[in-house]
């Protein structure tokens, strides 16, 4: 059962990677990245059980946190990058709304 879960997760990870590489917009990529992170967390926890040493869940925990932080990071920084460097027109629209 655990093996089946592992394989399923691995396949999903692969799909997520494809989306991350192909993803037409930036946000698709972030989405895929986020999903990939969650799947890694799952993979690690399942693997821990598979290898019979479930105390390694610490790593999974760290992954979950790090994943969250990096998604937030990407969002925050991509925001400012979009606004201030790449797309002046978007920035001006924003100002008008204010």
């Amino acid at each position: 059962m655990l093996t089946a879960a592992t394989i399923a997760i691995l396949v999903v990870m692969l799909l997520a990677i494809i989306r991350c590489i192909a993803g037409p917009s930036l946000y698709d990529r972030i989405l895929a990245f986020n999903m990939f992170g969650t799947k890694t967390v799952l993979l690690i926890s399942v693997l821990g059980f598979l290898m019979g040493r479930p105390e390694f869940l610490d790593i999974a925990l760290v992954y979950a946190l790090i994943n969250f932080i990096s998604v937030i990071g990407v969002l925050r920084f991509s925001d400012s990058a979009e606004f201030n460097h790449q797309r002046p027109e978007a920035a001006s629209i924003k100002k008008d709304k204010r």
Binding site: R29, L61, S70, G73, N84, R98
Partner: protein, 320 residues
Amino acid sequence: MIAIAIVRTKDLLAVVMLTGIYGLLSASFFVVLDAVDVAFTEASVGAGISGLLMLAAITMTGRTEAPKRHKPLLALLVVLITGGMLIYGTLDMPYFGSFDAPVHQHVAPRYINDSMQEVGVPNIVTSVLASYRAFDTLGEVAVIFTAGIGVLSLLALPQRRKPYLVDESGKEQMYKQHIVLRVISKALIPIILLFALYVQFHGDFGPGGGFQAGVIFAAAIILYAMLFGLDNAKRVFSLSLFQLLAAIGLLLYASVGVVSLFNGGNFLDYNVLADDPIAGQHLGILLIELGVGCTVASVMIIIFFNFAGRREAQQNGEER
């Protein structure tokens, strides 16, 4: 694995995200190969911190890469030679995973068999890291410290004048959009900090230790800084405090060594720290892990704050 590495396209932001994935992937690879401590570190560093730093740098340097103008034939040649050399070298290697390889026969068995008696810590990686090869780790802390100073000397801004009043309102607007995130993070940050402490002190028994704990700690504070603004973060955790902490961490580590010198042992010989060698080892490992954690966390924070501070200064400069 390979597929990702190859497809690194021109958009640097995507590249950075792919790097993050690459980090996660190689970390899971490390787990498969039984290297839990390494996986721990690689996850927090490869996927977390280095990605964040790269992002921070990219926002300052622009996102797109210019197309190449010259044909990199020479580079290809060099790379092929190197790769060929390595393949050539691998031919005589012992097979992957075989138990008879010299690697597993010469030095390592003592670590595995005797470290419990000699050091008294179940996590062999910790005992090797912090006791047998403690000096390497001291060097590692010094490297991190050097990087901190280096970044500081490159990016530090002259004394901050009064905060820019004009931007405050704009910033507020920006942060309001993240209200959900802010609430969630407020709940999460204490847990993360607690978890970092757990990792710090649990390193003797499970994967973890000073370095990983330091990175997690730093990540929590970076999260705070990202969501609540750098100025707020600086108000809570001042930069000079971290400078102090970084220095103290390194000093703590080194002075453990010096104390053992004065107690009549060699440098970093923990046996002489207490009456009982095992107790001495425990004390020594605890102290130096603390030193490592201190330095790593504060240097990471220093580096990030400097990047982010630089960025804000740039943006303010541009808007005027």
